[in-house]
Symmetry: D2
Subunit: 277 residues, 4 copies
């Protein structure tokens, strides 16, 4: 069980979202309100995009986010129009940097909350399905990273939603073969630095919480006096495991079994259905 | 805010107390029930005595206790008749090994839960009162370590209770001079490897929780069927920030403003009163 | 490139071999004399056997061995009749505890110095050959751990030399298939807690250095005045990547392409030949 | 014994100096050529200035610089016109972030190579001389940090050279009082984000190495074909513990007992003489 946050919009200093809000992500690392686990102290990570750079920057640590001085320095001095942050509560795999989210492959990032049930039993079959060319880029041992590489194998870079649906389909199918009930539980954020895709799904139809921020124009009409909303562009959007702050009307729940796309122009929201790869 | 545990009695494997009980100390590192902070993930430490060795062994780490594989290995393979374990929730000083409890000076150990209020303002005056010969042995930056070295300065090795009372008296007096209300909050365990002294005190008379285990003979009469109690000697005693397990009648609260001595023969319980050094 | 040490014989405090000798293993972590790399600062590990316990104890760290206070404490307070210690210089895989040697599977330990050339290219084929039952116990990402699990797959627990020869045969064969010249370079120590097997081999016939200590009786005749040799039993033997100390005649080189067995009664030395699995 | 580097001039990506050159600072962390210790693996740090920000950013780690993935990411993505980098070889004080250089006080940074001999004996007298207002900002336990706070106490922010001379004078005088011969050995870089002061001094007149880069115009005349020199402004200057790369004529030794000032307009070089505070 983990918590994550994906931001896209007007360039913003990371600390504005990581440290400032009541119930900020760093605050959630000490005591989350909606998580299955209340503490997310098994490592953390941020990946952010720098306009013009071919790859996002990755900063990950194995200690708790709440007491890391370097994270505070980086958050204070870094501005980005698109980033993904994650705090980890291990479901059994070791606490090491290569198991911290987000995972990166070239210009892509991937963060996950949830788990593959009985992963140690299903792992070999899932890993075997990863494209051998991609296999050598995996460096950690989590279910989350295997999910990322399966999605890459199934075409994440070309048709992201279909690729993630095929990944989920494979997990369901391998889980079934091993007699593991309800094998997949996930909220996922993945981005190529331009668009961001978010997913909420679980085999049992009872998925981890996920919220997206309301449109800025609506928010500004509701709260004309709120200063923090002024500088942000209409396109600015935040997707989070649990709401930051307490602004009524600021957050909407992502429906069960669905995906969303944050992009220039209208965002999308659609139904997510696992598919056989 | 931290949690600690001091054990004295029949040699026991560390894991029996650190990992096995419901509400074990490791469990408290993730979610304590009685602490001011619910998470104690800013480092940990154990100091244990090996019969015949001049000094206790110290094992301390900067990550959370709950996910440390080395701690688990050491706890599984180490047996000791006397040890002190501590999980830390920093009150502001850095998370580093030299700030992890217990602190050691020769054959002595010291663990603390609580804080000196506005320590950064009082620190210099307190440190100046430490014996210059002892000064060079301090390696960390916590209030807890300064309290230890003040107690050593005031004769901890000869008259422990009086020394800790003088330490507390100095903190009260320096606090008063700087206008800091209720400067001291503490439960402390300290031991020379033979006897263990425990203290519960706060300026405001509302101290952190502290419990000691009931006499073994009484417990065995109450629970004749309880296997875990059988091998333990009559002298076996445990002092803890919060109860392990759920055995009714197993724990008694240490009264406000008092100290206890765990030793061969009858233990002692007395009134603790800060004294001017 | 790494350095390791395997000890077997009279129970000895770990620090006697890890810290005391001139050119001790900890000293080699800062500047080894015979290694390909002069610094071995990418983590360390010790595994030691406790008589009566089903599994050896494992203590591993990701920082340099030379500055680790816990290692010093453990080495000072732990006595064992059989242990394996390792200091790591990464050949590319991440510095994390799960990549530190020795690796453990049940009562077995494994430490390796050397590498599989172009491991990232060969890795998938090698991992596929690991017994699926064993696969799930692998937690790291090194060539060394894969070598261990291949040896386990090929019967390490029953016929250790043959199993390691088959492991080496597979690496040679997969290397050949991918056009990797001289794919295997290794000195290995592996033990079940009773006997210890050591291997020195490389595809190119120019292997990393490996030495074993001369028989104690011979050493004592040569150096009757040497106190450190007195308490040690006739069976005591040490195998090391590079000699500790400067006692002339104390060390003999393990020949190229050979294995040795340290055991009760006469030790063995034999020729090592990779075999097709 | 440590190594450091201070850069000032045209904005440059950190990795250009930390990773790219032959004998780069990261390379020196594994094997320095001119250092008293060949390995500098006891932590590292970089402090860099961001135009417009009130304070420099600080990134420090306790592991070796050569294997830190976050350092590589930050170095690759950060551009700065003025930064100080340091790799540490501890002379006895603990390896912890608060002991890593550079140290920061508001807009100032301080990095040191060398030591105060018998620091544990002199420490208390030196610390007592630190301004009580500044005292509470010290968080580590090194001689280097105490030197910084003494210099701040003696007016570093107003008259840097005189302040450092008084700090050195105090160390000489306290050392003399305790019968410590040749107590001070130092090369120091300190900067306010605008100008950078460098010092080379030791009680014995045999100081650690220090070099500064030749004027860019001279270098460009010497090496008209060298691409890396083209984009750099005339004001660009580098001061280093040991030369990076192998460009003949690129480096000049800072003379014994002297200081230099890197600033807009002509740089300065002067004689350094400890003065009684």
């Amino acid at each position: 069980m983990c918590r994550w946050l994906a931001y896209s919009g007007s360039p913003i200093r990371l600390e504005e979202l990581l440290y400032r809000p009541r119930y900020s992500l760093i605050d959630q690392s000490l005591h989350s309100r909606l998580g299955v686990e209340t503490t997310n102290g098994d490592g953390f990570g941020i990946g952010w995009y720098v306009p013009g750079a071919p790859e996002p920057v990755l900063f990950r640590g194995v200690g708790p986010a709440w007491n890391d001085p370097n994270l505070r320095e980086i958050a204070r001095s870094t501005t980005s129009p698109l980033f993904v942050a994650h705090i980890r509560a291990s479901t059994g795999t070791p606490v090491q940097q290569t198991n911290c989210h987000p995972f990166r492959y070239r210009n892509w990032l991937w963060a996950h909350n949830g788990s593959i049930r009985d992963f140690h039993r299903l792992k070999r079959d899932l890993v075997l399905a990863v494209d051998p060319e991609l296999y050598t880029s995996m460096t950690g041992s989590t279910d989350s990273e295997v999910m990322f590489y399966l999605a890459l194998t199934y075409g994440l870079r070309d048709r992201p939603v279909a690729a993630v649906e095929r990944m989920a389909g494979l997990v369901e199918s391998v889980g079934r073969a091993y007699g593991v009930p309800d094998p997949l539980q996930m909220t996922v954020a993945t981005t190529d630095g331009d668009r961001t895709w978010c997913f909420r799904y679980s085999s049992e139809g009872h998925s981890r919480s996920l919220f997206y921020s309301t449109e800025m124009s609506a928010l500004r009409r509701l709260y004309p006096e709120q200063e923090s909303l002024r500088g942000l562009s209409e396109e600015t959007r935040l997707v989070v495991s649990e709401p930051l702050g307490e602004l009524a009307g600021a957050w909407q729940e992502v429906p069960e079994s669905s995906y969303g796309v944050i992009q220039k122009g209208d965002d999308e929201l659609g139904r997510f259905e696992p598919a056989m790869p």
